[in-house]
Symmetry: C2
Subunit: 432 residues, 2 copies
């Protein structure tokens, strides 16, 4: 059996909230001195997601309308056995991967975009604003908005806007309005452009623009694609589906691996299994993999910091490289974030999960081996998980252990082929 499919009606009925099971409490967010960022929150987030953000309920019902949209967008996603890769590695390990790349927008991001759009619509809002770097999140939110009949404004980091024109086209197909950030449409954008008309933009500035746009317009909310708990929560449908699928395959995972940027695909994939570990019912190992050029979990410090660059967000306790850290321009754009989900951070701090880092060359090499053996061209982000899955499978070859290794294929790489091209033609810098 190479793929394990679930039928539409097996989409989970609840999200799993890890706040209920963490070994210690997440320190609440704080205002920075002389500011009151926490007061903003109800002006830019829907009642639904704000309630979820701080909830400690273990399971939260998925509204029927949201489940219906999950089904329409093709969920549950398949779990695959990577038999081709196992053969190429000649390993006794069994390798499985969850196919979040099979979403219509090509990544796991739609799992949170749909409920965020739904709850905004429910509050009578007309438009969502957001930022996007590589474009995966902006694409998912544009589609989700078209599904519930909301407008969508995406501030896309200018350098990506120029270098990744196709993401912009897809957002346009879904009806999203995309502005290169810094833009002339916000005070933050205009101020930046006045200082430097050729500013390449940054995720920090794009966040500032999207938040400002939502704060200034009472019919608009802001929407975020990672880091916050309601996003982790929505993504737990991934791990819950994997649980059912591994039961069908009669497997227990020994190692679960995901890439980490803000933490959302890793969290969604592992949290339902981490619960079992916390409960003492599993000794599975969990590994988050990040670029060695943006080593938040492996080299950052666990401290209060802003979620954005300019300090519009409250201070959050998390692993961080500092809110003014600028990661080099690696092709895994979705992993270039200075901070980390507070929940993922706490689990790392408590030693419940592990973290590793890998260089661009290592991960593209792993991505190509995967593509040749399984056919699917993985997103540069997802190749980080593949790299470590291959390492684990090779270890099994040495020790003879028949481990069950499961990783999350968070997205496909069909819109990120520039990086592969550079790797194949030896143009990738060997520094990061």
């Amino acid at each position: 059996m190479y793929k394990i499919e679930l039928s539409s009606d097996e989409v989970p009925k609840k999200w799993y909230n890890i706040n209920a099971d963490l070994p210690s409490e997440i320190p609440p967010p704080k205002n920075s001195e002389g500011k009151n960022q926490i007061e903003y929150l109800p002006k830019i987030f829907s009642k639904g997601v704000l309630e979820q953000e701080f909830s400690t309920e273990r399971y939260i019902n998925i509204p029927n309308e949201v489940r219906e949209l999950y089904m329409r967008m093709g969920r549950p996603s398949p779990l695959f056995r990577a038999k081709g890769l196992e053969d190429k590695l000649n390993t006794p390990a069994k390798i499985y991967f969850k196919r979040e790349d099979s979403s219509p927008t090509g990544s796991h991001k739609l799992n949170s975009a749909i409920p965020q759009a739904y709850y905004a619509k429910k509050d009578g809002i007309e438009r969502l604003t957001t930022e996007t770097g590589a474009g995966q999140w902006g694409t998912a939110l544009s589609l989700a908005c078209s599904q519930v009949d909301l407008d969508c404004t995406v501030y896309m980091v200018k350098v990506s806007f120029d270098q990744k024109p196709f993401r912009k086209v897809i957002m346009g197909i879904y009806g999203g309005e995309v502005h290169a950030s810094p833009s002339k449409y916000t005070e933050a954008g205009r101020k930046t452009l006045a200082e430097n008309p050729d500013h390449p933009g940054s995720l920090g500035i794009a966040i500032s623009e999207a938040i400002e746009d939502a704060l200034d317009n009472e019919h608009a909310y802001y929407s975020i694609g990672s880091a916050l708990n309601h996003v982790m929560l929505h993504q737990t449908i991934i791990g819950q589906e994997v649980k059912t699928q591994l039961e069908i395959a009669e497997e227990e995972p020994d190692v679960m691996i995901g890439c980490v940027g803000g933490g959302s695909n890793f969290a969604g994939f592992t949290f339902p299994f981490i619960k079992d570990k916390i409960d003492g019912n599993s000794d599975c190992e969990f590994i988050g993999v990040e670029p060695s050029s943006c080593p938040t979990l492996t080299e950052g410090k666990y401290d209060f910091d802003f979620g954005d660059t300019t300090g519009l967000t409250p201070l959050i306790k998390m692993f961080t490289l500092g809110h003014d850290f600028v990661a080099p321009s690696v092709h895994a754009g979705g992993l270039r974030y200075h901070g980390m989900s507070p929940q993922v951070s706490l689990l790392k701090k408590e030693g419940i999960i592990d973290a590793k880092s890998a260089t661009q060359k290592e991960v593209f090499k792993a991505g190509i081996l995967f593509a040749k053996s399984e056919g699917i061209v993985p997103a540069p982000e997802s190749t980080h998980a593949i790299k470590v899955a291959i390492d684990e499978a090779k270890k099994c070859k040495e020790t003879g252990e028949e481990k069950t290794i499961v990783f999350n294929l968070s997205g496909h790489g069909l819109l990120d082929l520039v990086g592969y091209d550079k790797f194949l033609s030896n143009q990738l810098s060997s520094d990061n």
Copy 2:
């Protein structure tokens, strides 16, 4: 139920050969005056596919190794109910679509690439040569070759090679060697370049180069992506799966729709159902949809003609626009072929299937409505089928009929976004 999945072991065990059930015999291919193209065939095709090409056996066993590779590459593919599209159209019709876009290479082409690579390997061959226009077929054959450990040489029409660099990158990821055609590697290429060093290339020249390369190298075969009967045969796993899936959904199709270029996805999707119609057990309507700029079935003549431009192939009885017909450069590159599968041609001649044509603007408009409602960005080729499916659903709205409309989503459009961009920014010519 939004998606109807089959498990890996439900991959069909036999291909269906429509030669056994055609209402009249396909006229055999002929040599052109003073030439003997038929003699070439065993030098460039494997024993396996040549036997299939002229077989009249109704069912042909799929070798276990090929079935295994189909499974590894994710087959069977899902059948989806397009509930979002039905809602947007407010139609009483039920619309289903087969997701050939979910293949790792993004189209149905892998269904024939895998057996062609398998049979070549079985004959002890080391390398396959082929041509590719838009790149879908070259991509599929590169992956299939990497699966059975064959080398793969792809002659890619130069204008596509330059304009679609990402297809080339994907072929490179799979290990395929890609040459811009006309190339310096063959006599045909060199001759063309000598006459015009800036020649943009054509499918006809690329075919000549690929055939010449195979003829000149005893360890190489040539491989083709459409038109010939063994290709149609391999593609019938699509329609057989759809049959099982519609039975699960308790549906009988009233209309089945596919786009047509050389005929392979349309044939694979419909032939198992056309058998029922020929047997008198169905009154389903079958519609092939082509670009109005390349109207082979709707305006071509049914006659003997070459399959390529320069006359290297035998003469084949088919609908044709003439082997020197040059279709305008529409974005549905996969449908720009002057000829047509002899089997599909005969069925049209006999009135068993119907054909329609549509303009670029019409099909992109349909593609965008589909993307907004179902999430998936369809290939420009596949939007032709979507356009007619929408027309049929609208007719049902007028008449109140609850027809079951099924179309084949032959591929996704993630590597063809230039056409969407031009449509959205009103830059598409209105001529074709």
